[in-house]
Every structure is written in structure tokens, then in C-alpha cells.
């Protein structure tokens, strides 16, 4: 089958991109100081990670002694090796999912995963499903908005509807995501009528729409059910809403979806603009082609011409653009998840920057986001090839 050859070729082309991305992160990692790196990999040490310590700490004579923790760490991480060996080592670690561990007692670790030191990949696997669920919901919303609006603004070109979508897309470009998010959060909270609720003596702002789950004190049973684990990860699939449905906990399923609606709207509003313009332009181009005129002249109703003949053909462009905008779209997740306090890798990233940077998490989340973008591009390419035979056969 030609399709399989095409997919395999695309996957092979992926390899240099992944290696390149890792090289960029490697360059950034190697600018970090040695003790930052050692802290990120091994957590705090009794002697710190300075090259030398005062000998009295070790119970030895003399003034300056080599720090055993430093020496051991440098040797174990291969920091005394030449740079290309370090690069190879980094590649090996990255490809074998050995991404280091969270820093003990860092802000992210304390607030999101209970302060313990656990491998970054484990943390990410707990948080990824939340982000994917939000991404799926936002994508659904974007497509549901962009395709009909784009089509109609092309059909009714320069009419009020077209002008309205133009204003919509411009304002979507220009409004900062965090500002729109907080405005929606405030508006929804005002509509819901309750700003903060005190549960078990703990006050939670924006109670109704803040966080992935309701504050545990406010739940009917007084705490989250057992399938929501200690770090908030759920079982068996890890996707919060899906798991709630599996466990037939309709209350939590609704709560989980409700808390994702506003973030999804924020994300969609910001990214629908570009896609809408592309749908409109590709639709305008298709509408001038010969086969549309043929369809019209043989008496096909206008609505069918728009939806079947033109719409189907402009879909290709839409999918391509969706792939291109995905990078920008997923990059905004950190901000949105921080405003709404949704669990997800974006929140993880936001928490791992200040006040104490957790470099294991920073680089881990970046790599994961990049992998998501690359994977999305591959899926888009394959979809495109599936929809348009000229691509895979030509």
C-alpha cells in the first residue's frame, strides 16, 4: 500500500527533528551550573554540591576538601567527559525516558506532587491526560467554530457576518490569553453568584471554576473518591472525565467537564482567528473553480454546493493550517492552565519556574510539549494524505 510507505517516510523524517529538539534542550541544559544540575538529578545533598567543602564537615583534617557528593555526581552524570560524550549520554537518557527527577522541596514539587522526589516521566504521565483532555475539547470547539464561520463568511463575503467574524478574529489575536481567561473566570463566578467558598476552613477563590476538581472539603463525601490518587492522578485511564464516567460518578464527571469549558473557550477564542481566515480564503478560492460553476449550472441547490462541493475541498487546507497553528495553540496551555488552576503539564511548567526553578520539570515539560506538537503534525500530514490522493501518490 502506498499509504503505509508514505507514513513510514514521514516517521523517518521525524527522527532528525526529535534529535534537533533534544540538541537545543541539551545546549540550554549545559548552560546550567553544575550544582543546579546535580540538585535536579539527585535532590539535595548533606554537603551541598559545591566542588569543595570545609573539611570539618567531613571530619577530616585540613581546610578545603573535595566534596564527595560533587565528585560522585559529576562522575555519575559524566560531567567530566568531553562535550560530545555528554551529548550522546543526554540523547541516550532522553530516548530511554530517563529525564531526571523533580527537585526535592521545589515549589512545583511541594504544591503539586507532595514534595517528594519522583522521576519526571512519572509526574508527566500523571499530568498529561488532563492536558490532552483539555486539548481535545478545545480542538472540538475550534473546529465547530472555525469551519462554519469561515465557510459562511466566504459565502457572504463583505456582508455584516463577514465583518463580524473579521472583528472576532482580530480581537482574538490581540487579547492577551491571561486577560481573557481572568475576565471569563470573573464573569462566570459573578454569574454563579459565589466568589469563594470556605470548605474545612480553607477558602477557595472562584470556587466553581477553579482547579480540576472541587476542593475536597466541599465534596459530598468530604474527600475525592479513591480512584483519584494521591497526586490527583486518576485510574484506570488517567483521563479525569473518562475515569469519572467509567466509575459512573456523574457528579464528578460534570464537575470535571464544567471546569474545562471556560479554558477551552479561552484557547479557542485565541486560536480560532487564524484558522478562520484560512478557511475563508481557501473557501473563496474553491468557490471560483470550474466544478462549482458546473454544479451550480446543473441545478444543485446552493446549500449543497457550499457544504458538499466547496466545503469538502477547502477542508484540506483547514487541516493543514490546524497542524501549523497547533504549536502556538498548545504553547498557550501553560498560561490558561495557570489561570484556571487546571492540572496539566502547563500548570506543572508554570509552577516549576518561580519562585524556585525546577529544571528537571522545565525541560521535561518542554520536551513533552514538543513531542505533542510533532505528533500532531504527523497526524495532520497523514490525514491530509488520506483526504488528498495527490499528496501520497504524487
Amino acid at each position: 500500500m502506498r499509504m503505509w510507505i508514505y507514513i513510514i517516510r514521514r516517521l523517518l523524517l521525524l527522527l532528525p527533528v526529535i534529535i534537533g529538539v533534544m540538541t537545543i534542550t541539551f545546549v540550554l541544559v549545559s548552560t546550567l551550573s553544575v550544582d543546579t544540575k546535580l540538585n535536579a538529578y539527585y535532590g539535595p545533598s548533606k554537603f551541598g554540591y559545591a566542588p569543595t567543602v570545609s573539611c570539618s564537615q567531613l571530619g577530616l583534617p585540613g581546610t578545603n576538601c573535595t566534596n564527595p557528593a560533587y565528585a560522585r555526581g559529576v562522575k555519575a552524570l559524566g560531567l567530566d567527559q568531553p562535550i560530545y560524550i555528554q551529548w550522546l549520554q543526554y540523547m541516550k537518557n532522553s530516548l530511554t525516558l530517563n529525564w531526571g527527577s523533580t527537585e526535592h522541596g521545589s515549589y512545583a514539587s511541594t504544591n503539586l506532587i507532595g514534595g517528594s522526589t519522583i522521576p519526571v516521566t512519572t509526574v508527566l504521565s500523571y499530568f498529561l491526560p488532563y492536558t490532552l483532555e483539555l486539548a481535545a475539547l478545545s480542538l472540538l470547539l475550534i473546529l465547530a467554530l472555525a469551519i462554519p464561520l469561515g465557510n459562511y463568511s466566504a459565502v457572504y463575503r463583505n456582508r455584516p457576518l463577514d465583518q463580524a467574524t473579521r472583528v472576532l478574529s482580530f480581537s482574538g489575536f490581540a487579547l492577551p490569553g491571561f486577560l481573557l481567561a481572568i475576565l471569563l473566570l470573573l464573569g462566570a463566578t459573578v454569574l454563579a453568584g459565589q466568589f469563594a467558598q470556605v470548605c474545612n476552613g480553607q477558602s477557595t477563590p472562584f470556587f466553581e471554576f477553579y482547579g480540576s476538581w472541587p476542593p475536597s472539603g466541599c465534596l459530598p463525601g468530604g474527600q475525592l473518591p479513591s480512584w483519584v490518587g494521591s497526586f490527583g492522578q486518576t485510574s484506570p485511564t488517567g483521563f479525569p472525565t473518562v475515569d469519572a464516567i467509567i466509575h459512573q460518578n456523574w457528579f464528578l464527571a460534570w464537575e470535571s467537564v464544567k471546569r474545562q469549558i471556560l479554558p477551552a473557550v479561552t484557547i479557542a477564542y485565541g486560536s480560532v482567528a487564524g484558522i478562520l481566515r484560512f478557511v475563508r480564503n481557501s473557501m473563496l478560492e474553491v468557490m471560483n473553480l470550474d466544478f462549482i460553476r458546473t454544479a451550480r449550472s446543473k441545478g444543485v441547490p446552493e446549500s449543497v454546493v457550499v457544504s458538499k462541493h466547496a466545503g469538502r475541498n477547502s477542508l484540506n487546507v483547514t487541516i493543514t493550517v490546524l497542524g501549523l497553528t497547533f504549536a502556538g495553540f498548545i504553547g498557550g496551555f501553560a498560561i490558561i492552565e495557570l489561570v484556571f488552576h487546571l492540572r496539566g503539564i502547563g500548570l506543572l511548567l508554570a509552577y516549576s519556574i518561580l519562585p524556585s526553578p525546577d529544571f528537571g520539570l522545565i525541560f521535561g515539560t518542554t520536551l513533552l510539549f514538543t513531542i505533542i506538537v510533532v505528533a500532531a503534525n504527523i497526524i495532520v500530514d497523514i490525514l491530509y494524505a488520506y483526504l488528498d490522493p495527490r499528496v501520497r501518490l504524487g
Binding site: 532528525p16 527533528v17 534537533g20 529538539v21 537545543i24 534542550t25 540550554l28 541544559v29 548552560t31 546550567l32 482580530f170 480581537s171 489575536f173 490581540a174 487579547l175 492577551p176 490569553g177 491571561f178 486577560l179 481572568i182 475576565l183 466568589f195 469563594a196 477558602s203 477563590p205 472562584f206 504549536a327 502556538g328 498548545i330 504553547g331 498557550g332 501553560a334 498560561i335 495557570l338 489561570v339 511548567l349 508554570a350 519556574i353 518561580l354 519562585p355 526553578p357 529544571f359 522545565i362 525541560f363 515539560t365 518542554t366 510539549f369 514538543t370 506538537v373 510533532v374 503534525n377
Partner: protein, 399 residues
């Protein structure tokens, strides 16, 4: 005359040059209009018929004037703003017995809005003119004080106190300078690499474009953030920090331009006039600089004008995620101001609700509105202008 019908503009010579009579067909040398000037005039004609673009241009000119005038007026006690939150007993206007806020003050200052605050408490004082800003800033009730456009207080992040009006005026130069320098440098790099890749082709093209792909597959905001997080600690002075910010953005910005330029060069390279130039013996640098680059410039220019508006949004996003361009000191940048205002809001509202159980809290709307509005106006007017430019440049879109 088929070629003249495609060239119906009256300002251009419409004669059809044939063979050896080229010079005879052209008007006399002195009166011949420069084709580039003529094109500029034509572009302006189409742009001036687009109302939204003109509105955008007017707003941008206003921002530009603000930036230039604040630059000419000189730094306003920069980087220490003249407004500082102080903590201590208030001894009346004109006295200098304040102690800088050191964390012992609460976020909420509950003192009567007209009288002096009870001790110890925090209030805003103009360092250079203490009598001018009386400490009537009652944060519990979120009164904006006597400042134009209100104020923005960030107590948890290093005791910063922004007058939003001053932030707007002083931030104009920073925001505009940062945005323009990032985008122009990125576009220049993109122009160089893109025209190399497009014109030379082969291995060079493959190499440049693969590297471009790699950079494009990392989400822009994250790449900037990671670069800043990794390199930030080793940059300490203000010029260094701003330089680092600009540099990190350039790393993100050049690939998209490279891709645009390459695509455009691939089209331009095959045009007849390039072929003619090559046939008459021009070398590669001359062809690229004189023919290919000027003729593939307009999509770059449109994209460039679009991107200028998004920089303050991205800077705001980074500030919102916790990276401060210049921590602990007043640094007016529009995006960052807006982000700080949004960032402190939940805490303020919560504290306000807990603190004042008897009197209702007023909503600090000016903190959200004014910095946000500035960023929004800047971005949207840039969008309007670049949309108008795109229509004016592209003959197919005019109609």
C-alpha cells in the same frame, strides 16, 4: 496591447518596449517616475481607502509619539519609580521618615481614606515630591488614588508600585523598542537564510530548512521561557536582562521568516527578469540583492507588521508564567504590566473578601482595564494595519 492592459496604472510608463527601441519608448530621463516610489504611492492609495487600517495607523502613530516624547523627556527616576510603597508611621506630607516596605505590612491597608494611616501600615509615597501623593490609597476598598488611570500594586513580588499612567508613558519606549528590534532582527536573519536556502537550493536548502523545522516544532512561548529560565540567572543588570529577552525572542522568531522568504524566493527565482539578469552576466549576490530580495519582501513585511503586535502579548505571557524581565524593580513594559495586574487579582480579591466582611469590596477594575487595553489596542491596531497592507500590496486581494 496585451502587456499594457495588465499595467493600467497611469503613473507608470505604459509604452510597450520592443527590441532596440527601449530607450526611445521611455519618457525623458528627468521626468521618469521611480517605479518604487510609484508603487509606494499606489500602496498608500489603496491603504488610505481602508478605514480600519487608517485607524490602526493613527493609534500606532499616537503610541509612537508617546514613546518618542517619553524617551526625549528622559528616564523618570528609572529604574526606581518615584512611587514606592512605604511602611511606617505617617508623619505628614513632606517628611521623609518612611521605612521601605519589608514584608511586615499586609497586602490590605485598612485605614480611613482621608486621614493618616494607623501605624504600621503601607501607603504610596512620591519620593521626589512627598506632598503630592497623599496616602489615601485605601487598598481594602481598591480606590485608585489620585493618580491618572489608577495604580497597580504588587506587594508579594518585590513590593512594586506602578502608576499605570506612568507605566503607559514610560513603557511605550520599552515595548516599542523591544518589539521592533526583535521582529526586525528576526526578519533580517530570515531574509538572509531564506534567500540563501531558496536561491542556492540543494544541500544548503535542505540543511537550513531542517534546522528551521526543528525550531518551528517547539512551541514559541515555551522556547522563550526555557531559554530565559536557563540563562536568566547569569544575567543581572538591566541592559543584560533586556538583551537576553530580545535574544530569546529572536531565537524563536527567525525560523518563520526563513520559511516565508524561502517560499517567496522559490517563486521569484523563476521569473523572467531574474533570468534576464542572469543572462546579461550578473552574479549571484547581485541577482539576490537587486532582484530577488526586493521582490520577495512584501509577505515578510506583512508578517513583520503582524508580529510586532504580538510581542507584548508574549512578553506578558512570560511574565504571567513567572519570569520577570527585571525582578524586584520597577520595569514598565506593557505586556508585563498587564500580566502582573492579572496575576495579583485572585489574591487581592480573596484577601479583600476575607478582610472586609462588613463593607463590600470594590472591584479594582482599572488594574485590569488600562494595562490590558493598552496591549489590546497596540496589538489590534497593528493587525488592522497589516491587514490593510496585505490588501494594498497584493493585487489579487484588492478588487
Amino acid at each position: 496591447m496585451p502587456s499594457a492592459s495588465a499595467n493600467s496604472d497611469p503613473t507608470l510608463p505604459s509604452g510597450k518596449p520592443t527590441g532596440s527601441t527601449v530607450s526611445a519608448a521611455l519618457p525623458p530621463k528627468g521626468r521618469r517616475p521611480n517605479p518604487r516610489i510609484a508603487q509606494l504611492k499606489r500602496t498608500w492609495y489603496f491603504l488610505s481607502r481602508n478605514n480600519l487600517a487608517l485607524v490602526g495607523l493613527a493609534i500606532l502613530i499616537f503610541f509612537g509619539v508617546v514613546a518618542v516624547s517619553s524617551f526625549v523627556a528622559g528616564p523618570h527616576g528609572f529604574p526606581d519609580d518615584h512611587l514606592v510603597l512605604y511602611c511606617g508611621s505617617y508623619a505628614g506630607p513632606g517628611t521623609q521618615t518612611y521605612v521601605p516596605l519589608s514584608g511586615s505590612c499586609n497586602l490590605i491597608c485598612t485605614y480611613p481614606s482621608n486621614g493618616p494611616p494607623p501605624s504600621p501600615n503601607c501607603y504610596a509615597v512620591d519620593q521626589y515630591n512627598p506632598g503630592n501623593v497623599p496616602p489615601t490609597l485605601n487598598l481594602a476598598h481598591f480606590s485608585g488614588g489620585p493618580l491618572p488611570l489608577g495604580s497597580l500594586t504588587i506587594v508579594s513580588d518585590g513590593n512594586l508600585f506602578y502608576s499605570i499612567y506612568d507605566g503607559f508613558v514610560e513603557g511605550a519606549q520599552w515595548s516599542l523598542a523591544i518589539s521592533v528590534s526583535i521582529v526586525v532582527t528576526g526578519a533580517l536573519i530570515g531574509l538572509l537564510l531564506g534567500s540563501m536556502a531558496g536561491y542556492l537550493g540543494g544541500l544548503v536548502d535542505e540543511l537550513i530548512m531542517r534546522v528551521t523545522d526543528i525550531f518551528l516544532s517547539i512551541p514559541a512561548l515555551l522556547l522563550v521561557l526555557v531559554t530565559l529560565a536557563a540563562l536568566g540567572p547569569s544575567f543581572s543588570t538591566l541592559p543584560q536582562r533586556v538583551g537576553l529577552l530580545v535574544g530569546a525572542f529572536i531565537i524563536v522568531w527567525w525560523p518563520s521568516y526563513t520559511r516565508i522568504v524561502r517560499g517567496q524566493v522559490l517563486v521569484t527565482r523563476e521569473q523572467k527578469y531574474v533570468e534576464a539578469s542572469r543572462a546579461s552576466g550578473a552574479r549571484a549576490p547581485r541577482i539576490v540583492l537587486k532582484h530577488i530580495v526586493p521582490n520577495s519582501l512584501y509577505p515578510v513585511f506583512v508578517q513583520l507588521s503582524l508580529d510586532v503586535g504580538s510581542i507584548p502579548l508574549l512578553v506578558g505571557g512570560i511574565a504571567f508564567l513567572g519570569y520577570h524581565i527585571f525582578p524586584t524593580l520597577y520595569f514598565p513594559e506593557w505586556g508585563q504590566m498587564s500580566a502582573l495586574a492579572v496575576g495579583i487579582l485572585p489574591g487581592e480579591l480573596t484577601a479583600c473578601q476575607i478582610a472586609s466582611t462588613t463593607s463590600p469590596c470594590a472591584f479594582p477594575w482599572w488594574q485590569l482595564l488600562f494595562p490590558g487595553l493598552i496591549v489590546f489596542l497596540f496589538a489590534i491596531s497593528v493587525n488592522f494595519l497589516s491587514d490593510g497592507l496585505r490588501d494594498a500590496f497584493d493585487p489579487r486581494l484588492r478588487r
